[in-house]
Symmetry: C2
């Protein structure tokens, strides 16, 4: 028998190769999760100098696009629980990137805005985030990136 004979599946295995996924192959959630984890890791690594995490970044962008809105409106938009958002906003306030102003209409709520320092930080952050996005597009291929973006954005 030749050295390159047909070997059984067990013998055949490259010890470092990934295994069969089995039924997981039929679950979209698994594949979504896998790519999302890659993307978030790359995002965090790319923005490590600024110490900004994806959730913080999303909050900064939504405040920038909707100045003066309340915490509950931000949380509703991004699906962030109000308790979690309250703590995150305190951190961003400690960093002098946002400020809470009294809302004219409702004494219970705050009007959130970026500070001048926050605007400056966001400019740097956005530049790094673009680099991350370019890396993601390269990782999965520009065509696939565009397909996924269209499919997911059209839905959302």
């Amino acid at each position: 028998m030749r050295a390159e004979r047909k070997r059984s599946a067990l013998e055949d295995a490259d010890p470092a190769a990934p295994l069969r996924l089995g039924g997981l192959e039929n679950h979209l959630g698994y594949f979504l999760r896998r790519l999302q984890v890659w993307a978030f890791r790359d995002f965090i690594a790319t923005l490590s100098d600024m110490h900004v995490r994806p959730a913080q970044y999303s909050v900064l962008l939504v405040i920038a696009a909707n100045p003066g809105q309340s915490q509950s409106a931000i949380g509703r938009t991004l699906n962030i629980e109000r308790a979690r958002l309250a703590r995150m906003l305190h951190e961003l306030e400690d960093r002098r990137w946002i400020s809470r102003r009294a809302s004219g209409r409702d004494a219970r709520s705050h009007a959130l805005v970026l500070t001048a320092e926050g605007e400056k930080a966001l400019a740097k952050i956005t530049a790094l985030a673009q680099k991350h996005e370019a890396r993601l597009a390269e990782y999965i291929g520009r065509k696939r990136w565009a397909e996924l973006m269209k499919s997911l954005r059209d839905f959302g």
Copy 2:
């Protein structure tokens, strides 16, 4: 002036409506994350009777598809850190769904297999997981489901 006059963007806002996403619109990771979170929540809710989380389910499926493999091989396949996987496997062992056998080849590693009880549980779990998947497909539309699945699976 009429009551239905053209109002400014600020006045116009439905107080419960989501805000503008701003720069977030250009980030695939955000949209991936949003759908993935929906999917995992639905998965957890659908399988709440079995108390199985997505990561546990993925481990059970990969063991079922690759009986006798080691923890490191499972972890490598699913991108689960070995420390995390060790604890998860102890939980699954406590539930009598998997067992660790001595590996013939390497005394350091375990050969993981489903128990008979584990096979039975996985049958129930898989049936529920199908219901979840059907719900996900309905949520985003069957066409979009197929597009995303193709795009993501081809890549992986």
